[in-house]
Amino acid sequence: MSTTVARDRPGLTGTTGARPGAVGFLTDTTLCIGCKACEVACKQWNQLPMDELGFTGHSYDNTGDLGATTWRHVAFIERISDEEGRRPTSMRAFQSNWLMMSDVCKHCVYAGCMEACPTGAIIRTEFDTVVVQQDVCNGCGYCVPACPFGVIALDLGDGHARIGDGKAHKCTLCYDRLRDGLEPACAKACPTDSIQFGRVEDLMDRAQQRVATLREQGVAGAHIYGDRAVGGTGGIEGLNAFFILTAPPEVYNLPAQPELPQRKTIPASLATVAAGLVFGLAAVLSLRRR
């Protein structure tokens, strides 16, 4: 796990650009028992339909991924045997060998989906969470490729989804519950406090202490995913829903160094302009020659 540690940039570890008072999730995978209560609580509170996936054969994960009608997804990663095919008996303290992580929308400090949205349907709420206004969304889908984590999706009514309204959907961090002073349904249902809800700055403090304790207990790979050092990179400036992981992010199907696609627009535009100039000049020159 030394790769992860090396990737940490000490000055940025544990720092986030979250605005004061912002709320979010700390999902501590070392306490996750893969019970999927978060998935069920989310679907029940938000009245999301069942997905028609069937048996996948991929460990105990029959959910697959986040989507328009799945806003929490517990990933199961079996890493049972070592290189020589031996099963382990003694493990690192806390979750190991069979990793489980409850994935969710990251409610980025600078959110790709929101910046790509041409209609203003995606907004930042008074809780500093990112929410799609269903009555404004026109289903253009620009937000979909703009999310570096593959979270937001259109409900096209094909395959998984049943409503088929063609609009973009994702976790609202239970905006309606927050308005009523309740914590989000998934955090409420989590039996082991793997999912914790609170103010991002408090959660970040807690996460740093937890990572320090885990490392003392021999979990060398324990690290935060979603601060400015890892996960909240590339102009995102931090994830309001962040994680404690024990293996490199790629193992959990998370990008190690995500960045906002918008960041590429200015260089890309400049390149286009430059290319245009070059081609234009060449054309002018060649015409002149004639």
């Binding site: 306490l31 028992i33 893969g34 019970c35 999927k36 209560a37 998935e39 069920v40 679907k43 029940q44 339909p49 069942m50 997905d51 028609e52 996936l53 069937g54 048996f55 054969g57 460990s59 105990y60 029959n62 959910t63 079996e78 049972i80 045997s81 099963r87 382990p88 008996t89 003694s90 493990m91 303290a93 806390f94 979750q95 190991s96 060998n97 069979w98 990793l99 489980m100 039996p191 082991t192 406090d193 304790t213 207990q217």
Partner: protein, 863 residues
């Protein structure tokens, strides 16, 4: 739970889930706690956060193993060999023999120093059997197992395999204080008998039987030893993966023996947590749905040839011990009769004793299945039960259902048991035609927990109230509504009937007030009756010490007495938590005690064993026991109390006796009575096993297991090459038991949508199976198909020089609902533990091949 009852006195978890947070080491064995008790598992994680070691001993690497520090894989069915190995290891360890704590605990609190009848012989002498074996009846007589020099012999039939649970009153009948050898040297003392019995359970032997490599076993044993003692405690958590064996009771009882030796019973962070199968299963044995118990573990009267409780006097003579808490049996029983029969219960008619039904034969659940098939049983009420999926040998169970006159199923969905006559695999395959099934099926909708008020009594004997949030939809009603109005109509139906049955029904008090438009009975009126009251003025009693045997008090369940100690105060509703015993959170029987036998949390002089592990202690100045918990002994009994000659009841116990229900107040390392298959736990193989028993080659399988072999319930011979694999069945977090509450719910169904079988990559390679392929699993009872989940979490084990493959199948699935699959119990057999009458679903043998069933039965319907 006779495994705990026979050694400790009560058939309940000795500790609480919250107390696990105080453990230094938690051994989860025979349980997949993270998956099946996810909420309680938070306390395991709290302990771990504080630095405790968590060990999971299990054939599979499950979600529990993923959170453990040590996973110890073993062959399914070898648990007792491992526990025996731990007992032997502990007794020969340097730590146990050098730290005086262990000897002090064991000498004072257990029956280690008691001298046993010198005629007793064990498996060492008798090639795997105990003395008293009656081979042609497959049972033991227990005369030679008794304490030496006692006048009383067990009644002739006390060891008959007639009833499911041994009667609590059999926990020793002493006519004189036991003869002791405090030096533990006498060859006939319990300590020496235990030591000798387990001498052959060496780490080498454990490896040969279970497949656990020696070094790993030693690490397990050393971790437990290092975390037991004056200042540290180890807890064991088990669930039905210990219960569901032909030796299940003895496996649990071996754990009790080990925990007694380690001084872990009655102390915070120690004990044995019996994780019950689902909500209020504890409650359903306390106020029982079992045919052979009355509320509060009072035995049902018998009317068999060998056991007769014809009169109240006869019942009390047979069932009331002279010493220990059960001495008050007359007060408990007569108060129950007063609660049930009211004015019809008078001293002249033995308080209506004759109205009580008497047991004339075996009516346990397992026995019902062949009785239905054979036409002996004509009708069945199924409430919260789905035997077409959950019954052992479910093929036979469905044949039984098909042969009834009538069947009532009350459930929230049309479960398999209600739909068997048109939807079962044998019907779909054309082997059975619906028009040939004569059973009249009544399907009645039931209310869910949120649609009715009431209480749950969970794992740790904790009664917690739940409110009603919403009326049930349509015709759905609560169980209380159904049973109350059914009883009311029966009383109307039998009015004026002067037969014995008519008089019995007429005598019953059945006058609960009702409320609301649905005429629901008032549940707190039932709680009032359960708590008990004085008959003359109807005043509630404070607890069971107020109950009398003269008919002046009435009480529906004596162990719950105290739950409503005064009008308007339902203690099950209280919700004030704290960091210790949380005595104001719910109500825990008996008398709100949280850690049972907590006298053992103090040393014989009444001082805490250590500051870190203090729980209750003797306050000499105040002259009473004090501390964090309710003391589990008479509160003012001094630690140095010695009983005068002829003392009875709890006065017969000295001040250092923690096990108040036992005749001698001691925890029983050696169970002189109460168990039908031996006083010391002994490893026998599962009834179906691919290997022999290296520990007792002449006696490979339990000599007292209850067999029900018949053409529709055939067994595999020992080592039958046609069925080479060990099969174990289990549950998943995503579903609930036989699926009635989960497989029909879209949000749960999608999480585990289809039945599967877990196999190791090694076995998959051998049989040419890829992940996700269809496979067929077969036994002599039936065959099912399932999808293969090939995973390294399953692994073959080296057992006595052979490579043994294990197959795992969740047993939730059936043919109804959204999530469907082959019924795992179509494979299992009716073969039982003689004590608990529980079947063996955790270890039997099977064959497995790639492919599908021709009939397509078990195929998922959704395409």
């Amino acid at each position: 739970m006779p495994g705990l009852g026979a050694r400790l006195g009560r058939g309940g978890a000795t500790t609480t889930q919250q107390s696990l947070a105080d453990s230094d080491c938690i051994v989860i064995m025979g349980s997949n706690m993270a998956e099946n008790h996810p909420v309680g598992f938070r306390f395991v994680l709290t302990a771990k956060t504080r630095g405790a070691t968590v060990i999971h001993v299990d054939p599979r690497f499950s979600r529990t193993s993923a959170l453990a520090d040590l996973h110890v894989p073993l062959r399914a069915g070898s648990d007792l060999a491992v526990l025996g190995g731990l007992i032997n290891y502990v007794l020969n360890s340097e730590r146990w023999n050098s730290d005086p704590f262990f000897r002090e605990y064991v000498t004072h609190y257990t029956n280690a120093p008691v001298i046993i009848n010198p005629d007793f012989r064990g498996p060492e002498d008798l090639a795997g059997l105990f003395s008293g074996y009656v081979a042609d009846e497959r049972r033991y007589t227990t005369d030679t197992w008794q304490y030496a020099d006692q006048q009383a012999r067990p009644a002739a039939a006390e060891d008959q395999a007639q009833t499911a649970e041994p009667r609590p009153q059999y926990l020793g009948r002493l006519t004189a204080p036991p003869r002791l050898d405090p030096t533990l040297q006498d060859p006939h003392c319990v300590f020496q008998l235990v030591k000798r019995h387990y001498a052959r359970y060496t780490p080498e032997m454990v490896e040969r039987v279970s497949g656990i490599p020696r070094d790993r076993f030693v690490r397990l044993a050393e971790t437990i030893l290092a975390n037991s003692g004056r200042d540290r405690t180890t807890a064991f958590c088990y669930a039905v993966a210990w219960t569901q064996h032909t030796t299940g009771t003895q496996i649990i009882s071996a754990c009790a023996l080990l925990q007694l030796l380690l001084g872990n019973i009655g102390r915070p962070g120690g004990g044995i947590l019996a994780l019950r199968g689902h909500a209020t299963i504890q409650g359903s044995t306390d106020i029982p749905t079992l045919y052979n118990l009355l509320p509060g573990y009072l035995p049902m009267p018998m009317a068999t040839e060998l056991e007769r409780d014809r009169t109240l006097e006869e019942y009390l003579r047979r069932n009331r011990p002279l010493t220990g808490a059960w001495y008050n049996t007359p007060a408990y029983l007569i108060s129950l009769l007063k609660a049930w029969y009211g004015d019809a219960a008078t001293p002249e008619n033995d308080f209506g004793y004759d109205f009580l039904p008497k047991i004339s034969g075996d009516a346990s659940f397992q026995a019902m299945i062949p009785m239905m098939k054979d036409g002996i049983m004509k009708g069945l009420f199924c409430m919260g039960m789905n035997p077409a999926v959950g019954g052992q040998n479910a093929v036979l169970a469905r044949e039984g259902l098909a042969n009834l006159d009538w069947l009532v199923v009350r459930d929230v969905y049309e479960i398999e048991t209600a739909a068997f006559w048109y939807d079962a695999p044998e019907v779909r395959a054309g082997k059975v035609r619906p028009q040939d099934i004569k059973t009249e099926v009544f399907f009645l909708p039931a209310a869910l927990a949120g649609e009715k008020e009431g209480s749950f009594t969970n794992t740790q004997r904790l009664v917690q109230w739940h409110d009603k949030s919403i009326d049930p939809p349509g015709d759905a009603r609560s169980e209380a509504w159904f049973l109350y109005h059914l009883g009311r109509r029966l009383k109307e139906l039998y009015r004026g009937d002067d037969t014995a049955k008519g008089r019995q029904i007429a005598a019953l008090t059945w006058d609960y007030p009702t409320e609301g438009p649905l005429q629901e009975p008032v549940i707190e009126a039932i709680v009032r009756e359960i708590n008990g009251y004085t008959v003359a003025d109807g005043r509630l009693v404070p607890d069971f010490s107020a109950l009398r045997d003269d008919g002046s008090t009435a009480c529906g369940c004596w162990i719950y007495s105290g739950i409503m100690p005064e009008e308007g105060r339902n203690r099950a509703k209280s919700r004030r938590g704290d960091e210790r015993a949380a005595l104001e959170w719910g109500y825990s029987w008996p008398r709100n005690v949280r850690i049972l036998y907590n006298r053992a949390s103090a040393d014989p002089q009444g001082r805490p064993w250590s500051e870190r592990k203090k729980w209750i202690w003797w306050d000499a100045a105040a002259g009473r026991w004090t501390g964090y918990d309710v003391p589990d002994l008479p509160e003012t009994k001094p630690p140095d109390y010695q009983p005068p000659e002829g003392a009875v009841g709890l006065d017969a116990h000295p001040g250092d006796a923690p096990f108040v229900n036992m005749a001698d107040g001691r925890g029983w390392l050696f169970a002189a009575s109460g168990l039908r298959d031996g006083p010391l736990p002994t490893h026998y193989e599962p009834w179906e096993t691919p290997v022999g028993n290296p520990l007792y080659p002449e006696q490979p399988r339990s000599p007292a297991a209850i067999l029900l072999e018949r053409p529709d319930n055939r067994y595999h011979a020992l080592g039958d090459p046609r069925f080479p694999y060990v099969l174990t069945t289990y549950r998943l977090t995503e579903h609930h038991t036989a699926g009635g509450m989960s497989r029909f719910v879209p949000w749960l169904a999608e999480l585990q949508p289809q039945g599967f079988a877990e196999i190791s990559p090694e076995l998959a390679r051998e049989l040419g199976i890829d992940n996700g392929d269809w496979v067929v699993i077969s036994t002599l009872r039936g065959e099912i198909e399932a999808r293969a989940l090939v995973t390294e979490r399953m692994q073959p084990l080296e057992v006595d020089g052979r490579r043994i493959h294990q197959v795992g199948i969740p047993w939730h699935f059936g043919y109804s609902g959204i999530a469907t699959g082959g019924i795992a119990n179509d494979l299992s057999a009716l073969v039982e533990d003689p004590n608990s009458r529980i079947h063996e679903a955790k270890a039997f043998t099977c064959n497995l091949r790639k492919g599908r069933l021709r009939s397509g039965a078990g195929e998922e319907r959704r395409e």
